[in-house]
Amino acid sequence: MLIPTIGIEVHVELKSNAKVYSKAKNAYSNEPNTFVDVIDLGYPGVLPKLNEQVIKNALKACLACHCKINELMHFDRKNYFYPDLPKGYQITQQDTPIGYDGYLEIEVDGKKKKIGIERIHIEEDTCKSIHSLTGTLLNFNRAGVPLIEIVSKPDIASPEEAVAYVETLRETLLYLGISDVKIEEGSMRCDTNISLKEENAKEFGTKVEIKNIGSITNVGLSLNYEIQRQKELINQGVKIIEETRRFDDNTNTTILMRVKETGNDYRYFPEPDIPYVKLPNEWLDEIRKNMPKLPNELREEYKQLGLNYNNIKTLIANPDIAKFLDSLSCDKVISSNLLTGDILAYMNKNKVSFEQLNLDSNLFVELVSMISNNELSSKQVKELLPVFLEKKESPKKLVKELGLVQISDTDTLLKIVRDVIKNNPNSVIDYESGLDRAIKYLMGQIMKESRGQANPQMANKLLLEELSKIEK
């Protein structure tokens, strides 16, 4: 049986004020060719100067991916002629990547697996080219934007693992706060390598590289297609050729691209304009000390707290909500239900971010304790929440204003319970003959009679007590 071997290269744009080797602004602009200086354009005689923030951000990524660190490193020139790089070379790290030999833990179908990371190195982005009918248009705003390239080992054994790897990497970098990691907008870009071999074969098959993968879903789709394509060729006795293909998301297929130079053709040599780079120990200590909780760690914590799978997934995808939850000292299950349920729905409906919501943690804790003390029914919570989120006032006060106070007085509840039993003799008979839904119906009647204000736990208890008396 033919099995796939997959490796992934991910380029990530790092956040910083200035670019990696120049002091031009590192940001997106609607106006082309405005965030540019002489270094980005490769004018003769200009010298690159390494931005310290870029090194710090890259270090964060390396430590989060359990990499060893090259504390003394240098940069290299990767030579090629293409209009997106007017210097004729890209300043990158070939010999001494800042990080190497790390791993990232992924989970597929409940099974954990460590995917090795070969290397993480720093380099500069190229300018953006737009190909029109009459020529290629160049926008140098992106030239010199700091990048890290994260190269996995060929440890990935299926498209599902590939998707999990990219997703885990994306989440990790997001939590580190060092990149936007938006695949759709190009601040995170994936290239995959895939080859097939017979299960027991020692040597890898010929690898094919897939570029232009515009989303995490497409990582899976493109690999699935490519596995199928290569299987068919191999079964027909056709030899696979080493080539670069691109993913076409209109047809969900891969298409052969123009072949660019590889390996020796890049004529790497050390960049003489940047002296040896020695990482200060203080930086490493500081970064280790201030490392935020990362998604894999948070996932374990949430499982221990008893949160369900969907809530965990939603929390991990929304770091600001996860951070808020982390800061609370109240019932985490109720809190996570509220945050990932009604509150997230409110945010989506009203198109507000969590930051814009400006949720006060003390008031939120007050609300959670009201729910955990059974002072509010779930229906009342739904009614209260939008008002609470808008007015940002004490939920206790709002409950009174909205007339949402629960009836928790035994005498009042008992009267309602007895009336309902009296008025629904058929349901009582159903209950006695063992029909569970009869109790739901009777509870519904109680909630209706009390205009939704009956304390459900108390009413349920009283109802069962009264029914057992009838049985006797």
Binding site: S16, N17, A18, K23, A24, K25, E31, P32, N33, T34, F35, V36, D37, V38, L41, Y43, K49, L50, N51, E52, Q53, V54, I55, H74, Y80, F81, Y82, P83, D95, S129, I130, H131, S132, L133, T134, G135, T136, L137, L138, N139, F140, R258, E261, D265, P270, E271, P272, I274, P275, Y276, V277, K278
Partner: protein
């Protein structure tokens, strides 16, 4: 080295994105071989070191603070371009399809 093969010259020309005419081909075959002969002379010098020399001193790099400085004006950038259109520098179309 006597001379390079035509294939070798064409490969180097392609990396530099240069067209080499037939009449110049012969000239370059000898000229590039001469350059390689000179490089062989340099390589024959015994320098006995395992350490890669990338800078003339052992002083380490000084970092640049993460601050934005004045950038170029678009008009100044375009002074060095042969062809511009609206906000872009234009070069001959570099891909065949797409």
């Amino acid at each position: 080295m006597d001379k390079l093969s035509e294939k070798q010259v064409k490969h180097v020309a392609n990396l530099a994105r240069l067209d080499v005419s037939d009449e110049k081909m012969e000239h370059y075959r000898y000229q590039l071989a001469d350059i390689l002969t000179e490089i062989d002379k340099i390589l024959s010098v015994d320098i006995k070191t395992d350490e890669l020399l990338i800078a003339p001193t052992n002083n380490c790099n000084k970092y640049s603070a993460d601050e934005v400085c004045d950038m170029l004006k678009k008009a100044d950038i375009f002074k060095n371009a042969n062809n511009v259109s609206d906000d872009y520098i234009v070069v001959p179309r570099v891909i065949d399809n797409d």
